[in-house]
Symmetry: C2
Subunit: 219 residues, 2 copies
């Protein structure tokens, strides 16, 4: 039986959630859109295969990657029996990986204008989105999608994109800051306003300490 992995890759750019998809250059399904993926090598860990795929197309190595679900219907691939262990990844989109992505014939697509994808890949995206929305509530996923330094308005826009509903800026700031996992910097980002907004960093160490003392992250 063939064993593959497919990656649902999320990014965030220009205030919108994006998905990385691929225009197939080869048969089968040449010209159709699909997720990025690969067969799992005979001596390769399944999650290593997923990381290999990601590195090839984005050049990135230390990215947030989690197993999503295994798609194992007997008839899911008309080309022959093949199960796929789907993974999802969160990526900071920047100019470097934008170029690399383009070079491989891949695209960052707005989630709400996604074209149909081959096989059961659209279903994979649906499951991944639900999971992302669920997990974002209780884990600091958001910071994986933003630049290392970000402003609170940026963070709010991201969570509004994830949850698909507007958030109140006062309540949002209050909640986020009460978690005590952000470090305020003495720099402002003036790219989107004259006044400028303070930049913050996510403090991983502090977050892990708090986790150990049993606290419940929640946004």
């Amino acid at each position: 039986m063939h064993v593959a992995t497919d990656c649902i890759v999320f990014g965030f750019d220009a205030g919108k959630l994006k998905l990385l998809i691929f225009k197939r250059q080869l048969e089968p399904f040449r010209g159709s859109f699909s997720l990025i993926g690969s067969f799992v090598g005979l001596e390769e860990d399944v999650d290593t295969a997923a990381r290999r795929v990601l590195k090839n197309i984005t050049g990135l190595e230390n990215i947030y990657l989690e197993q999503l679900k295994t798609f194992g219907k007997a008839d899911r691939d008309p080309g022959g029996r093949c199960i796929s262990i789907a993974h999802y990844a969160l990526i900071r989109i920047d100019d470097n990986n934008k170029k690399l992505v383009a070079k491989y014939g891949a695209f960052w697509y707005d989630l709400d204008v996604l074209p149909p994808l081959v096989l059961d890949h659209s279903e994979m995206v649906d499951v991944a989105l639900k999971t992302l929305r669920q997990k974002a509530k209780h884990q600091p996923l958001g910071f994986e999608l933003l630049p290392r330094k970000f402003t609170l308005p940026q963070l709010q826009i991201l969570y509004e994109a994830i949850y698909q509903r507007p958030l109140d800026p006062r309540n949002f700031r209050k909640k986020v800051l009460s978690l005590k996992v952000l470090t305020k910097l003495n720099e402002k980002d003036k790219s989107s306003s004259k006044r400028g907004a303070y930049l913050y960093k996510f403090n991983q160490k502090k977050y892990e300490k708090l986790l150990k003392s049993g606290f419940d992250f929640q946004i």
Copy 2:
């Protein structure tokens, strides 16, 4: 590459959470304990394979079963490359399936006195337990482990076993009843007290209606 499925099967009996494990009758690992499992047939859906395994050993067909996670380390099975899609199931233990289980050389083990299991099966159990504890908060899993008719004290003991902490009976009853998904019957169960406790049924229809009108089940 070989593709298998293993099932983490939870039950509830005598006030304790139980796990169904299996003493291997054949090589490899003869005499050791393992989860129940099987290879996935070439023309068989992965989840169908899991249901087949469960039916063989418990005789049950319509049981709560969910995919847990795929275990895909290259070296997880020294006998040759094999990935396993782990599933977990929740079962109402009764005298019928107790007999069947015994016939196949399987056992219901208390979770806190579990022997070591072969391969990465102990890790699978750990992951399943964490998932169960997490999911139980937001989905009505508990009712899958109790008889169709159950008392509120029974339900409380079950949730205490899942969460591993005592719950206040007044607050517990209040919360559970406020969900409006239980139907009170005009019968009492006197097996554990002289006074007897009212029996209740979980109302699946009502639950699904409430879900549609967007409510958040929570225990």
